[in-house]
């Protein structure tokens, strides 16, 4: 087929461009020449990415400027009624209806690739569909944005985009253009796709360590406080997919006569964060107004803690590198709204959903010396804040973002001039931004001006361009705005007494490091490894953080954390056995059906019984695996006993010796030639007989036992 040739050529031209030294334009010319007779053949792109250990498989969504080929058909089902149903149909939903669709879905008459629901109907469909669609990862949920009043908006957003995903080795393969496209279109599509790939892989080649220069980076991550209400207003905090301007009240919209009112839950979570970071919490702190005019800031100022922050002088020790990072201060402040410029109408749209949400700004001292250290700092801060219930730390959703100061100096010399990079919103971007900034500053420092004297780095505020993968000037020091800080006259002094701090301390959740240590101490002697614990932590990093420091999130109400799952099952069982069943069997089976971990597919008690059946030889390992697969794919009614299920499926081992011997005798009779071979000393042939027994018993026989019994039977002949 012609495609094969192209594939090979494309691979040569693009993936191994260094070897062949073909530029993109040359490669396109070559391919166009070769495939002149096949205008509908595709340009296919092979990209090899380097994947570190434990890194998630790169994937992303993209939309090519010129569509290469019709995308695999999405089939969208929407639960909506009335006007919303009409809107959903108009927006391109394939099936629209109410709870009457449930039966059809349950018996597979109605199938779709995407299921959406309006908030009004989600309660009606959850009881019956939850256990059916949930395990397939298709159940609409508010968290995923698939329960929304804005169905049309959601459909519009996913329209025309497709997903790409690398294989397990990190290779990406994607048709990106058709042979009859113009060269420009091909190049455009190529660039577009590469940007999507770069974004999600982080272009992760690390530059080598620098010997001549040190880099210092105070990092100021700003994290959104996970509270139901905003910092100073009673409006509910917005979720990602809320309809714009649906989550604010008169205070957030800066109506005259409104006054701020500190949300005590936000304060409690801030105190938690301060305690977890070993900070000194100040008995008296104050709020200040930071003034500037911007359309996403309706009141004309942001309330922050400029002069007297909530907490100071903490430390966070990087768990892997073991480096202590000093925390300078922690302050509470308000988030802004969002403004989006619409180029078509040349106007700005303002969304106040985010306006006034509580933020924590955590400022470090200049203790971080490389992008790797900065990355580990942000990651461990992220998991710390998650475990404290302070923030979900989700950088993509904007719950955690960083301002980074970078300065370069020779060892032993004082810090150089620093540049601030604002609002970096992923660890990958942060690493790239720091690396680019270090290289840029080094280049400046090693160059000379017109008079021949070495040039200096100019102090400025920079941004990170996610498309060009480099930093750029936002404003110079001279243009720095004067924020005209003023103590907020309404909020006065915030007084936090010892009793209050102690109350928070008493209920402080354990830190990830403490949990890790406890797990190692408890289960390490039984053979549970650090890597096992990493796996459990990794599973929990995707869990929802509940609001207001509570312990149960409404989204995950019937599911417990991976750590809790493991510990519950381990109670009275061999922890090593338990961890292996979770990591090797359960996770594997879930991954095979493309579902993330959740404790709800196989409950902890069910898993416990299953392991017990294996350890008391009532069931073989392979039967137990089959049973597990069955449970995952065909969720049994709640309260089904595992023994009953195993019995129904005929997966329990035969217990009486009589029938055993019968099987062995039949095996020997069925395979006379093989038995003869064994008797003449060819022991390997025994495996074939064992295989026969396994087939006969549908895998219920125990291999070791079968081997032993067969040897006995054959030797007696």
């Amino acid at each position: 087929m012609a495609a094969k040739a192209k594939r090979r050529a494309a691979k040569a031209a693009l993936a191994e461009a260094k070897v062949e030294k073909l530029s993109l334009m040359d490669a396109i010319s070559v391919l166009r020449a070769v495939e002149v007779t096949a205008p509908s053949a595709m340009y296919e792109l092979y990209i090899k990415t380097e994947m570190g250990n434990g890194v998630a498989v790169p994937k992303g969504r993209f939309k090519l400027p010129r569509e290469a080929k019709a995308q695999a058909e999405d089939k969208i089902l929407v639960f909506a009624e009335g006007r919303q149903a009409e809107e959903a149909k108009k927006a391109g939903a394939h099936i629209v209806g109410g709870p009457e669709l449930i039966d059809g879905i349950l018996n597979n008459r109605i199938r779709a690739t995407t299921y959406l629901s309006t908030p009004a109907l989600i309660r009606a469909i959850t009881p019956r569909l939850g256990r059916f669609l949930g395990p397939q990862g298709l159940m609409p949920s508010e968290r995923r944005g698939t329960v929304t009043d804005d169905i049309a908006g959601y459909l519009e957003r996913i329209q025309g985009t497709s997903e790409w995903k690398a294989d397990k080795k990190g290779n990406i393969h994607m048709p990106i253009a058709s042979m009859h496209f113009s060269v420009e279109d091909v190049v455009k599509n190529f660039r577009h796709f590469m940007i999507s790939v770069k974004k999600s892989t982080g272009n992760s080649k690390e530059t080598q360590s620098r010997k001549s220069k040190d880099a210092n980076k105070p990092v100021a991550p700003i994290s959104k406080i996970k509270s139901r209400q905003k910092l100073f207003s009673r409006a509910p905090t917005a979720l990602l997919n809320d309809v714009p301007n649906s989550r604010h009240n008169a205070f957030d919209a800066a109506f005259p006569g409104t006054l701020p009112k500190l949300n005590p839950k936000c304060l409690e979570l801030a105190i938690r964060a301060a305690l977890a970071l070993n900070c000194t919490i100040k008995q008296r702190s104050t709020f200040d107004r930071k003034h500037y005019f911007y359309s996403d800031q309706p009141v004309g100022y942001q309330i922050t803690q400029q002069y007297s922050p909530l907490a100071q002088n903490g430390t966070l020790t990087l768990p892997k590198l073991g480096i202590p990072v000093r925390i300078k201060q922690i302050q509470l402040e308000q988030d802004t709204g969002k403004s989006l410029f619409d180029h078509r109408t040349r106007s700005s749209l303002i969304d106040l959903n985010r306006a006034g949400t509580g933020l924590l700004e955590i400022v470090t001292e200049p203790d971080l010396r490389s992008s790797e250290e900065a990355a580990e700092y942000v990651r461990s801060l992220q998991s710390l804040l998650r475990s404290m219930g302070v923030s979900d730390g989700n950088m993509e959703a904007g719950s955690l973002r960083c301002d980074i100061n970078v300065s370069v100096n020779r060892p032993g010399e004082p810090f150089g001039t620093r540049c601030e990079i604002k609002n970096v919103n992923s660890v990958r971007f942060m690493v790239a931004a720091i690396q680019h900034e270090i290289e840029r500053q080094k280049a400046v420092l090693s160059s000379q001006d017109a008079t021949g004297s070495p040039r200096k780095v100019a102090q400025e505020t920079r941004g990170f361009d996610e498309d060009r993968w480099e930093t750029y000037t936002i404003r110079s020091k001279e243009d720095a705005p004067d924020y005209r800080y003023m103590p907020d006259p309404n909020l006065g002094t915030l007084i936090i007494n010892e009793t209050r701090i102690e109350n928070v301390r008493k209920n402080l959740p354990s830190t990830p490091e403490a949990t890790r240590q406890r797990l190692l101490d408890t289960y390490g002697p039984s053979g549970v490894t650090d890597a096992n614990i990493d796996t459990l932590f990794g599973l929990d990093s995707a869990r929802d953080v509940p609001f207001d420091g509570e312990t149960i999130s409404p989204d995950d109400a019937d599911s417990i954390s991976a750590v809790a799952y493991f510990e519950t099952i381990s109670n009275g069982r061999d922890p090593r056995e338990v961890i292996n069943w979770i990591t090797q069997n359960l996770l594997g089976l879930l991954a095979a059906s493309g579902r993330p971990f959740s404790s709800q597919y196989v409950s902890a008690p069910q898993m416990g019984v299953l392991i017990d059946l294996v350890s008391d030889n009532s069931m073989t390992r392979s039967s137990a695996r089959l049973l597990l697969r069955h449970i995952i794919n065909n969720p049994p009614p709640i309260n089904t006993s595992i023994q009953d299920l195993a019995r129904q499926l005929d997966l329990l081992s035969e217990s009486s010796g009589v029938s055993d011997d019968d099987v062995y005798r039949r095996a020997v009779e069925a395979l006379p030639a093989e038995v003869a071979a064994i008797r003449s000393g060819n022991k390997n042939v025994l495996n074939k007989v064992i295989g026969w027994v396994m087939r006969e018993t549908k895998g219920k026989a125990d291999v070791q036992k079968t081997r032993k019994r067969l040897e006995e039977v054959i030797s007696k002949m």
Partner: protein, 524 residues
């Protein structure tokens, strides 16, 4: 007291039930006190004649007008600014809600200086308020057009004039640096600025949050007190509203230690009134000085002890006040940008729109009046990094000195600073009395004539700002004008004294006011 109450209720019933709004319709064209008149609630019209109906609610049949910088959901709230000309708030201010719940008939919104900034109520898109005071019986025969027109004072000029002209019983007003006491003095009515934090500010359009107080104006202290009792409650919506606990300890202290509560037979100290010498400076007009002296004399005749005291930081108070109030104003008024509500001026074609502030400047230039713009600029400057230390911080220090001055002359402890068990000292004074204004109401600049703005305008506040900076209760009580040596009839215009007490001593201040009223009635 009970007799007085019954008498008062009867008076209210007889004067205001039949058509509470007729006086407003009749006089507003000449006084310009009201900017919006609210239709009477239908229930009220039907019930008006049933005087036998027992009075279920404390403010039943009482007509109340609300200054136009206090939010009402059923009437516009313009703050006398073009910026909010068509603005109606989505909610009622807590104070409005409380009065409505108490049965008050809210009759309308009253004129004021734009966002409360001014001392004469001349900076208003609704036009100036005309002082309704009528000097002598002969004037009444002169038509309004030909009478001498004087200002009502500001910024709550409309509220003072409405009460003075009998257009309503009580008005809700605000006082940032004297905005209640000055117009009350010019119009000859009672004006109460309560202790900071006692009455909720939720729904009051901020001018300078740390100074703004909601207060009351009425023809008698008794009337003002009826409304005060309704409003003196904690509000969870206002972070500066003081707790129930603090209110209770203030009233416990007053109950146990007020010289007015003791039986006459015991050997308790007499009521001691301090007269701060700094308040009788050379700017004070002679007629004011004489009238206040006479009022003090009348009190002395009743057995009140008059003590001269000194408040040495007074001379710095006015400058500190203007720095702080302007700074807060520049911050509070930043929200008027034409986006979420209010006036929006579309930038003309070709304007530089590269910065958000460039877009806003069109709206803000068009929407704010001269005085507001002036104060925003002054306040913005005092908050810049270069000026902050020399202006804002210095002013804060002066504010503390002013507070210390007051604390050192009162026998009453300042509950907002004392941490240990508060005690009442045997030394010091119970309240201070001083003139409310340095002069009588100035002439109204005639139409079209640009009033000569000078520092004098700001000087009118010199006697009222210290109590604002310290957050103390202050009450203006009209006093008889002493015209013996001055035949100029014009100088019969009203004069008031201010009674200032320690924080939380609002009821003591009002009690002293009632005594002063009585003393002057006897003495006069």
């Amino acid at each position: 007291m009970r007799v007085a109450a019954a008498h008062h209720v009867r008076r209210c019933l007889s004067t205001s039930t039949f058509n509470p709004r007729s006086a407003i319709y009749e006089k507003n064209a000449s006084v310009n006190a009201f900017v919006h008149i609210h239709d009477p609630p239908p229930s009220l019209e039907g019930q008006a004649l049933e005087t036998t109906t027992p009075i279920a609610k404390p403010l039943q049949w009482t007509t109340v007008a609300v200054k136009d910088n206090i939010c009402t959901s059923d009437m516009p709230t313009t703050c006398s600014s073009a910026m909010l000309e068509n603005f109606t708030s989505p909610f009622d201010a807590t104070v409005v809600k409380l009065l409505k719940n108490a049965g008050a008939d809210i009759v309308g919104k009253t004129n004021c200086d734009e966002f409360g900034m001014g001392s004469m109520n001349t900076h208003s898109i609704h036009g100036p308020v005309v002082n309704p005071f009528q000097t002598s019986p002969s004037v009444k025969s002169t038509s309004w057009r030909n009478r001498e027109k004087r200002v009502a004072g500001g910024s709550s000029g409309g509220s003072a004039a409405a009460v003075a002209a009998d257009m309503c019983d009580i008005t809700l007003a605000t006082d940032t640096g004297g905005s209640i006491r000055l117009p009350a003095s010019y119009c000859g009515v009672v004006g109460l600025k309560p202790s900071y934090g006692l009455i909720s500010r939720y729904g009051v359009v901020s001018y300078a949050d740390s100074l703004d107080c909601v207060g009351l104006m009425a023809r008698s202290i008794f009337q003002a007190r009826r409304a005060f009792d309704i409003l003196d409650v904690p509000d969870p919506e206002d972070p500066t509203s003081v707790s129930k606990h603090m209110r209770e300890s203030a009233s416990r202290l007053l109950r146990d230690s007020s010289p007015l509560n003791q039986s006459s037979t015991s050997e308790q100290p007499k009521l001691r009134v301090g007269v701060p010498q700094e308040y009788f400076a050379q700017e004070l007009s002679p007629v004011v000085q004489k009238s206040v002296r006479k009022a003090l004399k009348a009190l002395q005749n009743l057995g009140v002890q008059i003590v001269p005291v000194s408040l040495p930081s007074t001379s710095y108070a006015l400058s500190a006040y203007y720095v702080l109030a302007s700074a807060e104003a520049s911050s509070n008024l930043a929200r008027y940008d034409g986006i979420e509500y209010g006036l929006r001026a579309t930038p003309p074609p070709g304007s530089d729109l590269t910065k958000t502030s460039n877009v806003y400047s069109h709206t803000r230039t068009q929407g704010f009046g001269d005085e507001v713009r002036k104060r925003i600029l002054l306040g913005t400057y005092s908050l810049t990094a270069d000026a902050f230390d020399n202006y804002f911080l210095q002013a804060q220090k002066v504010r503390q000195l002013v507070r210390n001055d007051f604390d050192s002359v009162f026998r009453w402890p300042n509950l907002r600073v004392s941490t240990c068990k508060p005690t009442v000292s045997m030394e010091g004074v119970d309240v201070l009395i001083h003139p409310s204004a340095i002069r009588t109401a100035p002439r109204l600049p005639s139409m079209g004539q640009n009033s000569v703005e000078s520092l004098d305008t700001y000087l009118q506040d010199v006697l009222t700002v210290p109590a604002s900076l310290a957050g103390l209760p202050a009450l203006n009580v009209p006093v008889p004008v002493e015209t013996e040596d001055d035949p100029d009839e014009a100088e019969e215009w009203p004069i008031g004294i201010s009674i200032v007490g320690q924080w939380g001593c609002d009821r003591l201040v009002m009690d002293v006011g009632i005594i002063a009223e009585a003393a002057m009635a006897v003495g006069g």
